[in-house]
Symmetry: C2
Subunit: 344 residues, 2 copies
């Protein structure tokens, strides 16, 4: 495997000049650059990033911490991050923290906090203030997506605002019997999303002077499957049936629609359903939703980081609110004219 030394010999230049020519830093004559690049290409030479890192302190590698790449939002973000990083010539080291705190802790300490990555993107992961400080202390920019990260830059959508908007949409259609499918309490530990969206829902309901019925507050684990089970309880149980459901995610909205179909309920004639996310499947189900461009958020996070790395060591924590868009499809409509209480 050729080293920079071989390139230097072949090009008739010094190692130093070749290094400068290939990295683009420092002054090199056009001729030398040409020579170096040709020689490198001939030999199939590529810099050893480990050696470069050691010498320069820059790893050209970004750590991405996600709860689980298997879930829609996270894999979407990772795709966006990955594409942006690849374009910029950076590597992506993935830390998929799917199983519990133990692993999470070791990741943070052994992997992230050391000289392995130039920066960290934490997706929906609530780091402790101390952990963030550690990262910042060693000059590693952090940007968080979708979770609160005290002291670090974050990119987030206006969770409370869009939940408010979603609920408001149902209210404006004339619904008064509105159920809310929120995230399980356990999810609230790491990223406060369920709580924030719930707050938006409550606000809208309060503003419209509508009652929030406890029996219409159900929760699931953010998956279609989990929401399907919860929705069957909600729609098939002995309680009065709502005319609309606001689900805190598209997957949960889809689970709700599937459950509704099981009971012969027509969406939107018998039941309106609205979600949040912009999941691809929303199209199949005609789901009205609020699209948060997850990939775009990932790409933006990368731009943030790289600007910080290349430009000045801008440690200023900036919170950016990422725009969302309302997507009207066919899962929401005016409530049934005549809502007969269910038999039984």
């Amino acid at each position: 495997m050729p080293g920079i030394k071989d390139v230097a010999e072949r090009a008739g230049l010094s190692i130093a000049t070749v290094s400068r020519a290939l990295s683009g830093k420092g002054n090199v004559s056009a001729r030398s650059r040409e020579l170096a690049q040709t020689a490198a290409a001939d030999l199939g030479f590529v810099l050893s990033y480990h050696a470069s890192s050691l010498a320069s302190g820059r790893t050209h590698n970004v750590g991405v911490v996600v709860p689980s790449v298997h879930r829609w939002f996270f894999s979407s973000v990772v795709e966006g991050v990955s594409a942006a990083l690849l374009d910029a010539g950076y590597d992506l080291t993935l830390y998929n923290i799917s199983e519990g705190q133990e692993r999470r802790h070791s990741v943070l300490n052994d992997f992230l906090l050391r000289k392995r990555v130039d920066a960290v993107i934490a997706v929906s992961l609530e780091l402790r203030e101390a952990e963030i400080q550690q990262l910042l202390a060693i000059h590693r920019p952090i940007v968080g997506i979708g979770g609160p990260l005290p002291g670090a830059s974050t990119i987030r959508i206006d969770d409370s605002g869009i939940a408010d908007a979603a609920a408001r949409h149902l209210i404006q259609l004339g619904h008064t019997k509105i159920a809310h499918m929120t995230g399980d309490a356990e999810y609230d530990q790491d990223f406060r999303l369920p709580g924030t969206r719930q707050a938006g829902f409550k606000k809208a309901m309060k503003d419209a002077r509508l009652e929030i019925r406890p029996e219409w507050q159900v929760s699931a684990d953010f998956t279609i499957r989990g929401a399907y089970a919860s929705a069957r309880q909600l729609l098939g149980g002995s309680v009065e049936r709502p005319t609309a459901v606001f689900a805190a995610s598209d997957e949960m909205a889809i689970g709700t629609i599937l459950a509704a179909r099981d009971f012969g309920l027509r969406v939107p004639y018998d039941l309106s359903v609205i979600g949040i996310d912009g999941h691809e499947l929303g199209e199949v189900f005609g789901l009205t939703t609020i699209d948060q461009d997850a990939r775009g958020q990932g790409a933006l996070a990368v731009r943030r980081l790289l600007a910080g790395l290349d430009g000045g060591g801008d440690t200023a924590a900036a919170d950016t609110q990422y725009p969302t868009s309302f997507v009207m499809r066919s899962s929401t409509a005016v409530p049934p004219v005549d809502t007969v209480p269910r038999r039984g």
Copy 2:
């Protein structure tokens, strides 16, 4: 940030001894090990992997190349790979090649073929023989999952065999009018999965002396959405309707079930549907399927690699067939007794 030198001073040992103590290689007295570990812990010291890599040639980093982490199979595999790697103290560098050949090429050359990773796991990615040889030439073990990788080790399920089994299941139930939803031709370029599964289907049909009707051979892009659209054509078009559909993936099977529901067809009474994968959503739809444990395949790939890395430089290409399991649910049943030709 403390270096190994600081640890050595604090422990009253030489740098060399501390290195040996912390890495576990070489002979170190229990006392020295204790001393070194305590000092390291006190200082919050963690080895710089870049320096270690440079000195030892081992990166403790595995490259994982996938077509798209956003898709079910790939993210499942990545989860399995990630967990196994984290446990072993390895990093995972993710190469998500979602967009075309250009990017793919640069990844292979600039990233993989150099001194950045100890090994490569290629998921459903067809590498050219030359590319594989390059990797092997620099002593980087490769293992492929779900795709043919001439010259490298692979882990695959018996695609043809399980397709045969799936079709056979339908045939044994008494179906004769069986449609096949296969993968789009474009997918065949990179991983020959659609073709292989199709072959299994054809074999089963031929063995049963059943006719393969061209109008019942439809294709989609492996997503629910794509299959939904194709299935609407199949089930709602003017051709005679099959009594069973064998979909080459669970997502496509689910798309088919959704389309069937649109036309008022009851699954399985009017239409049997079987898939392949073991997708979580299969449960919600009562989908009969053949479960390939994608996570398990990922974990196995890691074990393979690490065994090769730690043990002897075992370059022998081994093809492992990963076991699958038949999951009988409620989407398949005997065909309708009386199949009246559709009106229209």
